[in-house]
Amino acid sequence: MNDSVKEIIIKGTAVGKFLLHWGYIPFIIYVGYKSSYPKPPLARIFSPMA
């Protein structure tokens, strides 16, 4: 396998890891919020006390 292809794969996995790490939970919250009816108040998602 070419060295340049390896470089692309390594950089791609690093970017993918970064996106997954920071974007996975916001993605779940977004999908859950959009699919729930009635829409839950946002304070209930982010605050333990609401």
């Binding site: 790490h21 996975y24 939970i25 993605f27 779940i28 999908v31 699919s35 729930s36 609401a50």
Partner: protein
């Protein structure tokens, strides 16, 4: 071992709401219909005819699906309290925002080790075909799970642990096919296309009689580009009736685990597990045995376990009000003198 990389989520009793992934929830249980009396319209010169005729003979045997290979001993995992015991103070506040979406805040105080307090945020979305679960703690370590049913028989699972200390991150990709009387599963842990390292597993579990199922797992490890290692493990499960189960499993050629589970009555379940380790090259021969019992009452669940290393432990989960339950956990290690106690509350709203 590859087993160490699997996640065991903390099981909280859900009186209402969506099915939070727990040890006793083995994926999607959809009714599967296989027709053994279907007429074969192909002719004898078509090679697929023989495959279909053989398949119909097999369907006529009417063997049940054996379940998943990693959950062969699922009953004993729910009876023993090793996955449920807590230490220190713990509060799990779960909010069910909709039948599909749930959010959980959990606080832990008094933990041993460097960091005595911890906070974790978890979000779960569960659909008919998809389940997404993500958990993040104050050190920004993420534990993510994703299950998707591509069809009624094929399931794709992705599990990942992303730590801020990147060398401990792992990702596991899994594909599982459920047939009428067999289950086949392929897993890849940290696969790397760049240098071919990673851990790859393939396992297959087949029912050979309505009560007995056997399976095998092949493990291929490449921790470094030129270093390769393989091993094979076998497993067997005998279930003479719905209230008892015998399971025996090997891991490579060194470890043998056997267990017996019995449902004594509607409210009481008991199990015993024996694990033997034999490594001739290091001269190690060890065994450990544990006996556990679980009592299910209307408002509480009580688990007790005794070990051969002098460890006695107990876990009480009491439902004080709908949506509010109280946990008490204690472990006494008589040989080492290390005792652990835990107190917790689970609140659902």
């Amino acid at each position: 071992m590859a087993e160490a990389a699997q996640q065991q989520p903390h099981a909280s009793p859900m009186a209402t709401g969506i099915a939070v992934p727990s040890i006793s929830d083995m994926g999607f249980n959809k009714p599967r219909h296989y027709d053994a009396e279907e007429e074969i319209h192909q002719k004898f010169w078509n090679p697929l005819y023989y495959y279909k005729a053989l398949n119909q003979h097999r369907l006529r045997l009417n063997l049940p699906n054996p379940g998943q290979f990693e959950y062969l001993n699922k009953e004993i995992k729910t009876t023993m309290l090793t996955n449920y015991a807590i230490e220190g103070g713990r509060a799990d506040l779960a909010k069910i925002l909709s039948p599909n979406f749930q959010v959980m805040h959990s606080f832990q105080l008094g933990l041993p080790g460097g960091n005595p307090s911890a906070f974790e945020f978890a979000g779960v979305y569960a659909d008919e075909n998809t389940m997404m679960h993500g958990k993040m703690d104050t050190d920004f370590n993420l534990q993510a799970r994703f299950n998707h049913a591509l069809s009624k028989d094929l399931q794709l699972k992705v599990q990942s642990q992303l730590m801020t200390n990147d060398s401990q991150s792992m990702v596991q990709l899994e594909g599982e096919y459920t047939g009428s009387d067999y289950t086949a599963n392929v897993k890849a842990i940290n696969p790397s296309m760049v240098d071919g390292t990673g851990i790859y597993l393939a396992n297959y579990l087949q029912s050979i009689t309505p009560k007995l199922s056997v399976g095998a797992e092949l493990l291929y490890q490449a921790p470094m580009p030129k270093v390769q290692e393989t091993s094979i493990s076998f497993a067997m499960r005998y279930q003479p009736s719905a209230d008892r189960a015998w399971v025996a499993q090997t891991q490579g050629s060194n470890i043998l685990t056997t267990s017996y589970w019995r449902k004594v009555s509607e409210k009481c379940e008991a199990g015993a597990e024996l694990q033997m380790l034999n490594v001739p090259s290091q001269g190690r021969r060890e065994a450990s045995c544990s006996v556990g019992v679980k009592y299910d009452f209307a408002m509480s669940t009580f688990r007790a376990m005794a070990d051969n290393f002098g460890k006695v432990s107990m876990l009480l989960e009491e439902k004080i009000a709908p949506g509010f339950s109280f946990l008490l956990s204690g472990e006494l290690d008589h040989l080492k003198g290390e005792n652990k106690f835990g107190i917790g509350i689970n609140l659902e709203s």
